[in-house]
């Protein structure tokens, strides 16, 4: 089972195999914690969300369509569980970016290797535009989910996305 692919594990979980859930958990809980922590500073909430996420995997393994990265599927569940927590609390604790700091020269060099101008262009976006890109493109949320997450109307999410896309295109041409 240790050598099984993620897809195989998910189909075993769909048949009620708790051992497969354990292996999948060992593979995916760590990065999920790290990635959620970047979006929510409260460790207790992150822990609950991780627990909820794998409970949803356990119950909903049958709904996995068998295509695409299992990691991406798990993230899709996790980010929505986190979103549910925010909605219930009504006090958004969403955090974005490393304390609002500019990227270090070191980071820019590291990124420059792969992304060239894109990194700089993304970086020059205002924080509002960047958070919209982050929620929709990166976290894979829908417009209305992103709106709930960022605490702004979905119309605003759409218009900011259009602006962000335009600015990026201009910066890259």
């Amino acid at each position: 089972m240790r050598n099984a692919s993620d897809q195989q594990l998910v189909s075993s979980i769909a048949e009620g195999d708790a051992g497969a859930l354990r292996v999948l958990y060992e593979r995916h809980a760590g990065w999920l914690i790290a990635r959620l922590t970047r979006r929510c500073a409260d460790q207790a909430i992150v822990d609950e969300v991780v627990q909820d996420t794998f409970l949803a995997v356990w119950r909903g393994a049958r709904r996995y369509r068998g295509e695409g990265e299992v990691a991406a599927w798990i993230w899709g569940i996790g980010i929505r569980r986190l979103l549910d927590r925010f909605r219930r609390r009504r006090v958004p604790e969403w955090r974005s970016g490393g304390a609002g700091s500019e990227p270090s020269a070191e980071e820019l060099v590291l990124l420059g290797i792969e992304h060239g101008d894109l990194a700089g262009a993304l970086d020059r976006l205002s924080p509002e535009l960047r958070s919209v890109i982050s929620a929709t493109v990166l976290d894979g949320l829908t417009t209305s989910e992103a709106a709930a997450l960022l605490g702004i109307p979905s119309g605003t999410v759409k218009s900011r996305l259009v602006r962000a896309r335009r600015e990026l295109r201009e910066a890259l041409t």
């Binding site: 593979r27 356990w58 993304l122």
Partner: protein
């Protein structure tokens, strides 16, 4: 893939010191790269992961079970039967509480009248009421499932009637401890069994509620008549009467099995 997460980037990311753009890049990368996912995971406290896992195990085991189901499973009842029984309305907490209230009233009345008669009359009627509650469409969360159930109407009815009877007996037995005269004697038990089966067999020819009313009327009328006509009090709860109730219950059960087909279509 030529690009992978190195230690310096990892440290920045895990500390939350990395700014948006590099973090975007890193997150997009490790979603598709199992090696880098492992690297990120190594930076997370494994004890914390283990604690979450333990809580997850608890919720995986329990989340799908109602409290009643957990109790029944503990007694060795198969899971699917436990689910059916836990969803039987008359085994629910609200029903047990209202029955307990009625019996408490009967216990007080028995004390007031200087004899256990009110309790002895009421106790056998408890499962009859339970049967009615169990089969009222509006009250039954499993009504449609009951119709469509592969278990079959007759078996389903027997399982639920048994559950109703058991729940009633437990509540009545506890209540009877409040009456010194009858404390550990279970003279109401066979009448209860008889009346439950009578209600079930009557329900094959009339509405369940009407069946319960008829059975209750027969019971109360019978007790009053016996008390008036017979020379000694409590004759309905005497040894001879117990034997009669036992025989009647067996006969009616045979009759019920004979009419099993009428439970298959509700």
């Amino acid at each position: 893939m030529t690009w992978h997460i190195d230690d310096r980037m990892l440290a920045l990311y895990l500390d939350g010191r990395m700014s948006d753009v590099p973090a975007f890049s890193l997150e997009t990368h490790f979603l598709a790269c199992a090696d880098c996912r492992r690297k990120v995971a190594d930076g997370v406290d494994s004890q914390r992961e283990e604690q979450i896992w333990q809580r997850l195990l608890d919720s995986v085991g329990q989340s799908e079970l109602r409290p009643g189901e957990r109790f029944l499973s503990g007694l060795g009842v198969p899971a699917h039967v436990a689910r059916l029984l836990a969803l039987t309305p008359s085994v629910g907490l609200s029903w047990v509480l209202s029955v307990a209230a009625a019996l408490a009233f009967a216990v007080f009345a028995s004390h007031g009248l200087g004899g256990p008669m009110p309790f002895l009359v009421l106790a056998p009627l408890i499962p009859v009421l339970g049967v009615v509650v169990s089969y009222q469409r509006k009250l039954d969360p499993l009504y449609e499932i009951g119709i469509a159930s592969p278990v079959g109407g007759f078996r389903l009815m027997l399982m639920r009637a048994t559950a109703v009877l058991m729940a009633s007996i437990v509540v009545a037995a506890v209540a009877s401890l409040g009456i010194p005269e009858i404390r550990f004697s279970a003279v109401w038990l066979l009448p209860a069994l008889f009346l439950t089966v009578l209600t079930l067999i009557l329900s094959t020819v009339m509405q369940t509620a009407s069946a319960a009313v008829v059975a209750s009327a027969i019971w109360v009328g019978g007790v009053i008549t016996a008390e008036v006509v017979a020379s000694e009090p409590y004759i309905v709860f005497g040894a001879t009467a117990q034997l009669v109730f036992a025989v009647l219950a067996v006969l009616l059960m045979a009759g019920l099995i004979g009419r099993r087909d009428s439970f298959e279509v509700i």
